[in-house]
Symmetry: C2
Subunit: 238 residues, 2 copies
């Protein structure tokens, strides 16, 4: 008889942005599984949880090296999946935690690919506040109204794809902006969107600085890793 697997989004970083359901499940499960880039390293998702729970959690660290070697990564995923399956088969309930929402650009997608499809494991996903909603809230900025569209994407690596996106979309939330920040700012300027675009960095990371800036006042190209740029072609302003 297998234990249950919960995929739990812990929100963008502020422990208060956990849902009541996430808190209840994380206090109930036998193990909280938290992905780490290196042994002894920190898991930001776990720091959030640790601040929010009333009872101490039993933690199972899973190692996911930040490598671009597909084979090495695949091996790490297989090992992590095997370990989780072992714990589940012993009847333990597990919660795999991720920052933000589990189904929006998170490592939980790979957990589902590796073991969530096995029918004998009951899987439940608990949604979390994503960084886009949290960033818009910091700005009091509408993401979309009426019949408008909202498109969410990591900043494309090439200028052509970015141009085509800026041409057709009215509300855009860019993720992973630090990897191609200069290109993004240049193109937003070219398309006349710089003054209606906003940067939010480290949103909800309680112990760190929150930066919210109109792009046309933010010149530093060294933006933090956890940053979102929200670009509006309509006349909305926060």
């Amino acid at each position: 008889m297998s234990g249950r697997l919960f995929g739990v989004g812990v929100g963008p970083g502020d422990p208060e942005l956990l849902t009541l359901k996430a808190k209840r499940i994380l206090e109930d499960v036998d193990y909280i599984c938290t992905p780490k880039a290196e042994k002894g390293g920190k898991s930001r998702a776990f720091e959030v949880v640790n601040d929010a729970l009333d009872t101490p959690a039993r933690v199972k660290e899973l190692l996911f090296p930040m490598v671009h070697d597909g084979e090495e990564l695949k091996r790490a995923w297989k090992e992590a999946a095997d370990e989780m399956v072992r714990l589940l088969s012993e009847g333990n309930d597990l919660a795999f935690i991720t920052l933000g929402d589990p189904l929006l650009y998170s490592t939980y997608n790979y957990v589902l690919d590796n073991l969530g499809r096995e029918e004998e494991i009951p899987v439940e996903t608990v949604p979390g506040i994503n960084s886009i909603g949290a960033s818009a809230a910091r700005l009091n900025l509408p993401l979309a109204k009426g019949d408008e569209k909202l498109t969410i994407l990591p900043v494309p690596s090439g200028p052509e794809e970015l141009e085509s996106i800026l041409t057709v979309h009215e509300n855009i939330a860019f993720l992973k902006v630090s990897r191609n920040y200069k290109l993004l700012v240049d193109k937003l300027e070219e398309f006349g969107l710089k003054s209606s675009s906003y940067l939010v960095s480290r949103c909800g990371q309680g112990r760190e600085e929150v930066i919210t800036e109109k792009l046309d006042t933010y010149l530093d190209e060294e933006v933090p890793y956890l940053s979102v740029v929200i670009s509006k072609s309509s006349s909305a302003s926060p």
Copy 2:
């Protein structure tokens, strides 16, 4: 000295999907403002809150008639804004509640337009779980991975706009699907996307039925008002 205005997202309907922050603020404020379509009618957002709070809330109902007459609606907004400003000026803290997230297709956008821009009123937005994240969670279905895009929009009224969206987007979450359901299903079939599209209705509405169906098994055109269709052009499946 003005009270504070909080725009609070209460999530898709399950009281457990409130955030810890939303719960704290809703228990703290002097009045919870809840939009209603008619006098004596029910506010779904307030039902959610009522189930989640430990202390009874003082409620201020605001009337927003479901009318298409722009002038009548504008007058209703103005009256609601005046009432809120009056309460705030007496030093009361107010929470304006909305289903889902306050900045994604919600009436809170109009609250901000009508009084949130006044500098003397301190405004704080508290993000909520939106129906798209909650629906994906019910399906254990990834919304976007890696460098993929996710586009969110109400179903367009014309076939041409819908076709152009289905042509260029890989992951799409359609809202307000009940108003144009037949067109949506027909076009998804035409584009070969019906078998990778999923309907979730009344997600998180604890006391009501949750429908999660692959579109190619759901023939009824009478879909409930609170429905989302998630369409994937990639090979992902829940």
